[in-house]
Symmetry: C2
Subunit: 320 residues, 2 copies
């Protein structure tokens, strides 16, 4: 357990996740308010919206307005999500976003079929086209992502060997196209991971790829989010996705499988308490979680926003 | 991380914790319904009520009625809590409870003062009297408990060396009175622990006491409950307190310090997924969590009751 990193890097996905899943419309001005508040916490990467079909996802129809609205802060990368070239072109057109290319393969064929209506062969074949699309726009491709890397609601367990193989395939495809993946993301998309499977899969991918960094995208659907994150930290993983307040999933709405990422401020507290730097001001971040809660109008699952930080208590104790 | 135990033993504290903290009165019949449902899950130890001053805690005034009401199931120990001889005598008088004596010392003098209005010397001096009281009633004293073993809202960090010393003192006191402590409980009463401090303190107490079992009582106030539990498991700890649904603490009421134990069904899922036996039927336990939620009338923090178990998904996948 001595492999804890000295510093972690957090991709804040709360705004995009939160704005995507909520049923009641959220005013654009509130979205921008949350993004600007998050910018002031020390977070270095914030995914702020998604460029998807506004007819299918009306809550994201204001993607361009959100991007136009926030106040950029130095040192913060603001990112968007897209699912196809049309979405990418919209993101490029804003001229305000940090753009990164990403390859994606699936640990589960059943989920790939449901999510993309593709066979594994079709998904593989689509990756070189994706790289060419990014290259045509001068966008670097440095990340490979394995969706459902630990298990799948429709197929069951995913073998670690399969994940290692998918990572190898992505790296080959990238290399053949003149790109070099430096970050491999493992997604526990449907919350099948446990701390031991995290350690096993991360360990095997690291052994086969000692020259890349790993990133974990963990869902808290079954409550194991932070335990899994700790397991990742104990293996030296330094990159984590998270969502302020636990935005993007409400444990009380019974939408299994859709529950959110690990909660950013709870993760930050865990890291800081173990001496792992995050660059984030936890009190400001907890304020953001409370702001998010007030914007969406229902309780969010994060704990620190009500339980409080320990640093605040230490300061109070010192002051007597 | 190869020290995971093959089996864990869970003390279910949900009924007592839940009935204690809720503001609106809970009908005795509902309390009994939850206890009987929990009895059918495979849980082997259920703390069902607390014998405290009914004037100070009106919600627990029906302690005797609760004890009289449940239907005992073979293999389940039903326990109560008491804070003084008067409470113990009430528990004895029910003739239906499993009775165990326990010694308690405090990691934090400030918390001891607030909670018991005692100095450390007074608390130490009270322990032999406690043993004599138990011995007078033929009740074994096998457990020693350290309250606030990881930190305190009023005093800050607690040094692991202090915890080791307290455990040694308790064992000496017990031995001098002809008792032998076989279980040492460490309480993260105010949620100051993190996975690394769990490993450090547990490791030091184990090293100094290789002949006793450890037990962890973890609060989830800051979201680290299950990560801390995993850290304990990774050190071989086999005894855990937990509360169904996360009863006893609502993360949305901002009563910092009062938030509940780790959620039993989420903990059971984590254990079972890592191959650690619990003896508990997770589906039945999740039903209990939903029952608890319907009884108290507000959302509980546990995740599995809405996110679902993986075993249920595996069964569905197998059935095609």
């Amino acid at each position: 357990m001595s492999d804890l990193p000295a510093r972690v890097f957090i991709k804040e996905e709360g705004p995009r996740e939160g704005f995507q899943i909520e049923r009641k419309p959220i005013p654009t001005v509130d979205k921008v308010r949350l993004i600007d508040a998050l910018s002031a916490t020390g977070l270095e990467f914030i995914q702020i919206t998604s460029f998807v079909n506004p007819v299918r996802v009306p809550g994201l129809a204001d993607a361009e307005a959100v991007v136009a609205g926030f106040t950029p802060r130095e040192g913060v990368r603001y990112a968007g999500l897209w699912l196809n070239q049309q979405g990418l072109l919209r993101a490029i057109a804003t001229e305000r976003l940090h753009l990164e290319g990403k390859l994606t393969l699936y640990g589960s064929n059943a989920f790939l079929k449901r999510n993309q209506n593709r066979t594994p062969e079709q998904q593989l074949a689509a990756q070189p086209d994706l790289i060419r699309m990014y290259q045509a726009h001068g966008i670097p491709v440095r990340t490979g992502f394995v969706t459902a890397a630990f298990g799948c609601n429709f197929q069951g367990e995913v073998e670690p060997e399969r994940v290692v193989s998918l990572v190898g395939q992505m790296r080959s495809i990238a290399r053949e196209a003149g790109e070099d993946l430096s970050l491999i993301g493992l997604g526990d998309t449907m919350a099948w991971a446990n701390p031991q499977s995290i350690r096993r899969v991360v360990g095997m991918v690291q052994d086969a790829n000692p020259d890349v960094e790993l990133s974990l995208h963990l869902h808290d659907t079954r409550g194991l989010g932070l335990a899994n994150a700790y397991a990742g930290l104990s293996m030296g993983v330094r990159h984590f996705d998270a969502a302020v307040g636990g935005l993007g999933g409400c444990p009380f709405a019974a939408h299994a499988g859709a529950a959110g990422n690990i909660c950013t401020e709870d993760f930050v507290l865990m890291c800081e308490e173990m001496g792992i730097g995050t660059g984030v001001d936890l009190e400001k971040l907890a304020d953001c979680a409370r702001l998010a809660e007030s914007i969406i109008g229902h309780p969010l699952p994060g704990k620190v926003k009500s339980g409080g930080s320990l640093r605040a208590l230490r300061t109070r104790i010192k002051a007597g």
